[in-house]
């Protein structure tokens, strides 16, 4: 019986080493929640600004350059805030797991996340260049979903499902052009909050 107990301990240690050495398991659910909240705040801000301009629809084709710049600025502020909070919560979580925040594991995770993400970003620039504004929001959602699925091999596998949801939402929003902001708020706001909450209770409580 003692022998068996010892072997069991060996096995669980093997499992933990395999996990810790190949996947970044310290991604915090709280960073998902804050990213979602800041996305919602950003979407609300953008919505108010657009409505002040007396426009019924969100991404009408004649959106002028000033408004466009302002929207991009809002997006950048939201993104920066989400990244900073994400790094903060994840660093805290990594300490708890005894994982390093910057090593080969996180590098591999980021590279695999960035490949579809940068592709999507460039693709959106092309859409802007051709003034196809209505497809920008769907494209960001779809490429973001693909990026998450691509990165899921190097972190918590659950992030795959978030990726699938983003892709579905992106494809649906492509059918309903003109509601980009609404879908953006759903995809980057609501989905992140739901995912972050689930992860927080699954792994960090």
């Amino acid at each position: 019986m003692d022998q068996q107990q010892a072997q069991l301990e060996h096995l669980s240690e093997i499992r933990s080493l395999m996990e810790r050495s190949s996947r970044f398991i310290s991604l915090s659910g709280l960073s998902g929640i804050t990213a979602g909240l800041s996305a919602l705040a950003g979407a609300g801000w953008a919505y108010i600004r657009l409505n002040n301009l007396d426009r019924g629809q969100y991404d009408v084709l004649d959106l002028n350059l000033n408004t466009l710049t302002e929207m991009v600025l809002i997006a950048i502020i939201v993104l920066l805030f989400a990244i900073i909070m994400g790094i903060f919560f994840t660093t805290r979580n990594a300490k708890k797991h005894g994982q390093k925040i910057w090593d080969n594991l996180t590098k591999r995770l980021l590279i695999n996340l960035m490949i579809p993400l940068v592709t999507g970003g460039l693709f959106c620039l092309v859409l802007l260049y051709h003034a196809i504004l209505g497809l920008v929001a769907p494209a960001t959602l779809v490429f973001y979903g693909i990026a998450l699925i691509n990165a899921s091999k190097y972190t918590l596998n659950d992030i795959r499902y978030l990726g699938f949801c983003e892709i579905c939402l992106g494809l649906i929003s492509a059918l309903f052009m003109g509601y980009g902001l609404l879908f953006w708020a759903l995809g980057f706001g609501v989905l992140h909050i739901v995912y972050g909450t689930l992860m927080y209770f699954k792994y960090e409580r």
Binding site: E13, L17, S21
Partner: protein, 101 residues
Amino acid sequence: MKHIIAHLNKLFESRVRLGVMSVLVVNDWVEFNTLKEMLNVTDGNLASHLAALEKHQLIRVKKQFVGKKPKTTYQVSKAGRQAFEEHLNALEQLIKGPGKG
């Protein structure tokens, strides 16, 4: 029971060797220092276990220089992967079915 124990590899009896193999089977080339940090062992201890695994051709070793610093990385060999899998299966059998064999 006896034949299960025969499948348990004597080489993997040490915690450090088992740890090294666990890390190597799920990663491509891993650095000496990374292994050291993951397993929480001293240089000398790790080095001697790695030498033993290398001697039995369970792992491959690559030595390079990055600038002036030597960098040693390790990869599991085909034989090593197979041996490790057999060892794990034997462990599992041992735990699952004490009544068998």
